[in-house]
Amino acid sequence: MNSIFLLLNILPILFLYQFGGDLHVSFSLTKDFTLSLIQTPLGTFFAYLSLISFLLVTVSQKSKKLSCNYYALQLLLSFAMLIIVLAGDFITFFIGWEIMTWSSYFIISKSNNIDIKSLQKYILFSLASAFSLIAAIVISYSFANSFDFATISASFKSMPFDIQLTLIILFSLSFFTKAGVIGLHYWVVDTYSKAPDLFSSILSAVMSKMGIYGLFLIYGNIVGYQELKIMFGTILNGTDFGYTLAWIGVATSIIATFKAITQDEVKRLLAYSSIAQLGYIIAVIGFGTTYGVAGALYHTLIHTIIKLLLFINVAAIIAQTGKNRFSELGGLIYRTPVSFVMLLIGIIGLAGMPPLGGFASKFMMYNAAINTKFALILIGMLFSGAASFLYCYKLVYGIYLGHPTSKGLETQKEVPLSYLIPQIILALLLVLTGAFPGAFVKVINPILTQFSLKALPYDGVGIMDSAVGNFNGLFIMSAFVAFFVLILLLISRIKSKAKNNINRFDISYCGEVPSKDTSLHYGFGFGTELHRIKFVNAILKRSTATFYDALALQTKRSSELLSRMYYGNIHNTMIIILLFFSALFFIGVNS
């Protein structure tokens, strides 16, 4: 069953590749709705991104026995994302958007630890984002008299300022909800953590990128960065609009990072981390400079690869051990060494350390901040980047290092091959993007020209250069590999006698001998005492949940109030009808 759907996933990739960039299909639904698909560079970038990740996830789902309609829904989801990304007009975009929503809703509802409350959270936020999207589409239709991107962007300049503002706000709101910006992320954590294990990788890696694609579409194509600059004016060296967006992004990443550190559940930590990483992208997307857009695009690619890698890895561990909390996991390095190496590579990429691709995208984003002289934004990004290293370490330490907390962990076998292959491929991708950052420039340039921004200078596949300077990825990678191999030889030369006769429990020098089953796995809890820091404590205590729960409570209370009118006494209903008649009569007669 899995192999059939594997082939079905490859099909669109070949189909897209065969078109090579000039696909133009239009199908008229009714006289004034023509659905059209156009292949823009931005669209192809995101299309390949989503299709390849779907392929890898389907490979990883080989070992799980999944029912046929699960795969069908997943295929429908990938088809919907393809429509979104290749849409030429807003109606196709919206149709793809809604099909994506409800097909993912049905997939999530298949997981066995999902409950109705988080399902409701997911669908209501997605519908809210979809409805604000349709509102914006319809308002823009009223001015452009067509749903097509080109006509709308042409007539955007002629719209009055307040309409332009409402359109931008509505579009950004709907895409922020999908990307999980801090105020609207109430649904993200629950859905990612409770969705079926492997599907949450798609959720966080690909579906949130649809929000990013939407933002690019609106700011780049429809409104255009120049128009934004004219509309909102400039500050320091960047646009005012970019500055506000940057603050939103930075706030998201800082708060999400600190929330991530304190999580005990593995998938919740990953969910918060994906919010944080998206916070970076959103911070940079609004700058409207070449480096801003390039940094955002690069980080989108890197984040997708890393999140796929991490989620598949974690899903494999959960499937293998059945436990998803740091307090229950630990010491798996001996049992599943390959997954440990994969996770390690993922962590290095996530934290943005030099040899791997993570550093290249962070480098580009910091350049964008420097270029537009938004100093505070740069400090914020650096601060949350550094803080993100904490939860990366927690992820590695909690699962693989430290002491196994329960007996079962010691007899774990290595994760089945079907999980490992995609992880290996993703790790290789990370290494490649780290070694050859320049290659990515060739991918980004057509998109920059589409947004009518200055193209990045391309000098050599290994070199990524920016306004402030450049670095030679290839050189760093080869130096790192050489250095790494050297140390490896050194360690293996020394007969490591120490490993086998050290007994995990031989720590009697402090006078107490721990019994066999006490767990010595303490390292993962270091997030808990973050509360003592006043600033972090303020973040951790306050949460948007209270606001949304209060909102839900108010609607419930008002609905009870209103339903008290319908308590079924026909006598009073008659009196109300007669009173309504007399009221209208008196108003009507003497008006």
Partner: protein, 484 residues
């Protein structure tokens, strides 16, 4: 092939039912299905002919009564006859499963309900309209009290009293019209309506508004509606929400545009529609009885239709009519599936959505819910987007914001039901959907999807209907008997 058959054939059928009953229940059920099928085929035949069609009774229209079929009534004719065919097939299953002694009488009231509603949309004489109003009234009082238990009887009594109040106001309005204009023919009334002394015309409009508004379940006057839905059986609920409520809506807006009231009262009707939508969606949130929940959702959708139909722009009206058709089909689908569910699980609490295990019913309910909410691949989406597009073109942004916000509230309870259906925990009883129902629900679901993917078929008819509604010039020409 004349329009009179829509009323006369069911009348003959209901007079001859005692003899059909004597020939055995097979002939009874077969003849009822055959009757609704013939009328459906006849309406399809009318789609090919040039509109408007007329069939006169005894003398030419301005003096006599005539049935006039224009684009607007053709759309409703198709909806009514289609729902009649579907429900008559459904009743085969219903009476096989719980046989009732006076089944023949159900068919009498069922066919006369459809004939009355068709009469209401075809008749071009206001007093004749009142007669059909009463026929539909009596049939719906008895149908809602059909299974003679305490709930059914209570809903019958409530419906009867409210219906009689509505008919009092309508009779008073007809009398005032006759006093002022001297005729009951709709064409002449439409022509001379502006000559009436303004105070009296306000009174007439108010009386007609209260009369038809109460029956079409507008806000301050629809406190009785959920009780009726709770008291009657599900297939009758399906009929109420897709046929009867739509007939009253038809007449409300037929007179609204014929008498040229849209300039003065457009805002008033739109606000009333908006309040109905808001109140019924919010009350639907904390319902525990399933039938009451779907009753409030029907009231809500009627609220949207009132908002959209009252605007004078043919864009929005054609969108509203599209939404109306898709709402009729999906509400029929939901109520029929609900009937099966309630029959098997013997309770009407909301929790039954969590206690049944049938993949087919889950898909059917999911399609119905998504179509009513207006989610893309289904017909509800096209309807909703046409309405929003219409409102946008007339720069009425507050209406757009209002509809979208309240439909999020509507999404809450629909998706709560979907989540309960998809929830795998808890003991589940397998629900066996009969063979007939399987086909019926498939046909309805297929229709929803087809209108969602290829709406151009239906949009042709809704545009025709919208133009015929907004400027009824050729309807007036036929109603006045010019050139007959």
């Amino acid at each position: 092939m004349s329009l009179g058959y829509y009323f006369l054939l069911p009348v003959i059928f209901s007079f001859l039912t005692p003899y059909f009953k004597k020939l055995g229940s097979f002939t009874l059920r077969g003849s009822s299905i055959l009757l609704s099928f013939i009328l459906f085929v006849q309406s399809i035949a009318y789609t090919t002919m040039k509109l408007p069609q007329i069939s006169q009774f005894s003398i030419k229209p301005p003096l006599g009564i005539a049935f006039v079929l224009d684009g607007y009534s053709l759309l409703f004719l198709l909806i009514f006859t289609f729902s009649a065919v579907i429900v008559s097939f459904y009743m085969l299953w219903y009476f096989k499963v719980n046989p009732k002694r006076d089944e023949a009488r159900f068919y009498v009231f069922f066919n006369m309900l459809i004939a009355g509603s068709i009469g209401m949309i075809l008749s071009c004489d206001i007093f004749n309209l009142y007669i059909f109003f009463e026929i539909v009234g009596i049939c719906s009082y008895t149908l809602s009290a059909y299974n003679k238990d305490k709930l059914g009887l209570e809903s019958g009594i409530k419906y009867l009293i409210i219906g009689s109040i509505a008919s009092i106001f309508i009779v008073f309005a007809i009398m005032l019209i006759y006093l002022q204009i001297g005729t009951v023919n709709l064409g002449l009334i439409a022509q001379r309506f502006h000559e009436i002394d303004p105070k009296i015309s306000v009174l007439i409009v108010l009386m007609l508004f209260i009369g038809f508004g109460t029956k079409a379940e507008l806000f301050p006057m629809n406190f009785w509606a959920p009780d009726i839905y709770q008291g009657s059986i599900s297939s009758v609920n399906g009929l109420f929400s897709s046929v009867v409520a739509k007939a009253y809506l038809f007449v409300f807006f037929h007179l609204f545009y014929l008498f040229g009231l849209s300039s003065k009262y457009m805002l008033f009707v739109m606000v009333i529609g908006a309040i109905t939508f808001l109140v019924s969606e919010f009350t639907a949130l904390n319902q525990t009885n399933v039938k009451r929940l779907f009753a409030y959702s029907t009231l809500g959708q009627l609220g949207i239709l009132f908002m959209a139909l009252s605007t004078n722009s043919s864009e929005t009206v054609s969108g509203a009519l599209f939404h109306l058709t898709s709402h009729s089909i999906s509400k029929l689908l939901i109520f029929l599936a609900l009937g099966i569910l309630i029959h098997h699980l013997k309770s009407t609490k909301i929790s039954i959505f969590g206690d049944f295990k049938s993949r087919f019913l889950t898909i059917i309910f999911a399609i119905g819910f998504l179509s009513i909410l207006g989610i893309p691949p289904f017909s509800g989406f096209v309807g909703k987007i046409l309405i929003l597009k219409g409102f946008a073109l007339s720069h009425n942004y507050s209406a757009i914001a209002f509809i979208l916000l309240v439909s999020i509230v509507e999404a809450v309870y629909f998706f709560r039901l979907t989540a309960m259906m998809l929830d795998k925990k808890g003991t589940k009883r397998v629900v066996h959907v009969g063979f007939i129902n399987y086909i019926l629900l498939c046909v309805l679901a297929a229709l929803i999807v087809i209108f969602g993917l290829f709406p151009s078929l239906l949009i042709h008819y809704t545009d025709l209907a919208a133009n015929a509604l907004i400027n009824p010039t050729d309807y007036l020409k036929f109603a006045l008997g010019v050139g007959l």
